[in-house]
Amino acid sequence: MILCTAEEWQAYEGRFVALWTDAQHAYALYQPGTLLAVPLAEGAYPALKHPGASWFQRLAHDMTGAIATGAADTRPAIEQFRAPDGTAPWPDFAAPEGEGAHVVSVGPVHAAIIEPGHFRFTLRGEQVLKLQSRFGYAHKGTLALMRGKSPRLAARFAARISGDATVAHSLAYAQAAEAALAFAPPRRAVHLRAVMAEIERLANHASDIGAIAGDVGFAFLDSRFAWHRESFCAAAYAAFGHRLMMDIVVPGGVASDLRPKGEAAILSSLDALETELPSLIRVFEDYASLQDRLIGTGIIPVELASAYAAGGYVGRASGQNADSRLTPGYAPYEKFGLVVPVEQEGDVAARIRIRLAEITESIRLVRALLAGLPDDGLTVAPPAGSGSGIGVAESFRGPVWTWLRLDNGVIADLFIADPSTLHWPLLEHAVTTSIFADFPVINKSVNGSYSGVDL
């Protein structure tokens, strides 16, 4: 950690990841793991210029009351409570400007089975002029519940920051605890963690690619990809006893070994997807009506993705080649190598192509990992102690970052940053490149987590 002055804090150039505050300091995290801290002066700190910092500054204010001096956006992030007199902290949405502009509001209860969030669209005819999103509906006070608990006890909460990325969140959290206490899990556990993380990626990529096709009327692709997602969940259940592999990655190792029939179940679900994938990809390529809806839709320009340091398929479809499995990198990926696909178009079709390429790479990784599982045990008990550490894990969406500070074996403070936080503002932009009817498919192609940002 670098303790800096207000000037150094504001002048730091880097790929911004997250910002948070505690009682004494404001912290800013940059790739590939540089942590800056500035002392609070009368409960305030200078606002950062990075566009991605805006949400974190709003969140910090809602959580601790710390004020980002000079911040342009001071709306609440998660604070939605209504006072008994009916007043709410959220300011009224501005009225639409310009001739023919009108407003459509959507949520927090959506038409599909998804999480809660509120979207305000300003439209002229079909064209989206502006999207403002409002979150906090899934706020559960997770970080506060984790403080004061031992790393093992608090792992259940890390696993529930975002259920679709439960393995990645548990992994980032476990690696932060292991860094703070300077101990390492057994090699078998490290390999099994990677197996689970890649299965999670495969299940989510398959499910989302199908859902995008379903959103534009291709039910056939939707049902085939949903079948494959189901086959990965069934394999995860056979191998680890839980369909989403929740609570299996814990600080110090893994809570469950690979079950006897698990390996065969995983390999057969990999084979099934690998066999059918070429014919499914051909459907994407052969049908002009499908391509018409996906190509040139929901564009995130390279410069914008770079300004937000976007990760995952959102960043990689817009020219960003970062993958936290390589930079900063963590075990065991250095042994297996990794090809990171990058595209420049930044549209829905590019995000699908990235995810299809990642499916192929994950299938290869899981096979290689299973073929060479070490045999040295599953877990070591975390030692008691004090210290702070940063952990990162590449979820299917991008890098999940966890920072925690331990004091005599219990969590004194922590922060967890889901990649969605940097992707939601990009969605707000992407929607303005298209018509209103394309919002569901653009939203699905970015697939930000609501729970992951509401905490």
Partner: protein, 182 residues
């Protein structure tokens, strides 16, 4: 390419239909009869409201609609509009920030409404129990008719629970239409 895959799957043996747990159905039937709920037949429309979940329950709810579980074969469908819905299905911890949205959704639904809490969080707050940001379980918002526990419950458990609800208030012509082609 599409027709070849479709043809192949038409020839595959179909999964055996699921049946409701008779004990759960019997206990629900007694409770609903006591509440003199009007019978709606063997078809229910479900309006799902996420009230502060981690999205694990939503993943498994969506999975009930896939080829394997095929919820619609039992007459159960998810509907976007609360005006068409018979069942209010709540996931999540009943967060304070969602209380008003749940209330308005219930208000928009025609009576009778069956409230189903899906997932440990909706049962009692789950691991988040005690957080000041939450009310702790769907019954903090509305009286609950059926709970389907699990973190998250599997799609099979969700289908079984909803079938119990069908059994409890539908006509008791056991298995007549279940699983058969229309």
């Amino acid at each position: 390419m599409v027709w070849r895959t479709v043809a192949r799957h038409l020839l595959l043996p179909q999964a055996a239909p699921r049946a409701a747990d008779p004990a759960i159905a019997a206990s629900l039937r007694a409770r609903l009869a006591a509440a003199s709920a009007r019978r709606l037949g063997r078809s229910l429309a479900i309006r799902h409201v996420p009230a502060g979940s981690c999205n694990g329950c939503e993943l498994e709810l969506r999975a009930t609609q896939n080829l394997i579980y095929d919820l619609t074969q039992y007459g159960l469908t998810f509907t976007p509009s609360p005006r068409h819905a018979d069942v209010l299905l709540i996931t999540g911890v009943a967060g304070r920030n969602m209380a008003e949205a749940v209330r308005q959704t219930r208000e928009a639904m025609p009576d009778p409404v069956f409230v189903v809490a899906v997932g440990d969080c909706a049962v009692d707050g789950g691991v988040f129990k005690g957080s000041p940001a939450i009310l702790g379980g769907a019954d903090a918002l509305l009286p609950v008719d059926l709970v389907i526990a699990g973190c998250p419950p599997t799609p099979g458990q969700i289908v079984d629970g909803l079938l119990a609800l069908l059994e409890a208030h539908g006509d008791k012509k056991e298995g007549k239409a279940r699983g058969a082609a229309p």
